[in-house]
Symmetry: C2
């Protein structure tokens, strides 16, 4: 597998964790040492692993269905860092309401041993 | 100057270009070789230098005043790549309407010779 394929797989793993709404899967997608950051669509910046994982737990509590179709626009690897720009085609059921739409995302990863882990996720709604 | 200070300066140069609404300054802030990408708040992804610069020209045409207060949350340098997560405190006059608000931004830079140039800007509105 090339490094770019490894990054694409790590990116897909993040979205799989989101789709299964499983906080343990989401926890294992994020880096444990780096001071991670996250911007959910329309939200202010969240800093720190504890706060970021709590935000995912809150989202999962209110979400019944989350389905993604991901289109990668660019995947760049430099040493132990990588970043992906992608478009999330999204169908979700949140608080009983069905929503379909598009989210633009920037995801930054760091390599730890053999694994690429998320250090920053930035999603923004296309209005 | 440390590399992190260089990145912070490049980040500030980008926002200065935005404040002056000068398309030539904005042009010189972006990389010329890399296939650059840009997400304006609420917009879909824009790809390619020509399209990205055209989007800035369109924004500048409709904007009378743009003032930023930038707070950097993190600045990471790895080889010839760097990325900044920051919060834009924003006051603008667009189409005659005054707006104040906050934008979360992820900015990715690439070093060309002695200069750090933007390859990706992602801004999202805090609602």
């Amino acid at each position: 597998m090339t490094e770019k394929e490894e990054i694409t797989e790590a990116n897909q793993r993040f979205y799989s964790a989101f789709e299964t709404l499983d906080i343990e899967q989401m926890r294992s997608a994020w880096d444990e040492e780096y001071d991670v950051t996250c911007v959910h669509p329309g939200w202010p910046l969240i800093q720190g692993r504890g706060e970021v994982l709590q935000s995912w737990a809150n989202i999962f509590t209110n979400t019944m269905v989350m389905q993604f179709t991901i289109t990668e626009a660019s995947v760049v690897v430099e040493g132990d860092w990588a970043w992906v720009v992608c478009t999330e085609g999204l169908r979700s059921v949140v608080d009983g309401r069905v929503t379909e739409g598009k989210i633009e995302a920037t995801n930054v990863f760091r390599k730890r041993g053999e694994r690429w882990l998320l250090v920053h996720h930035h999603g923004s709604p296309v209005m």
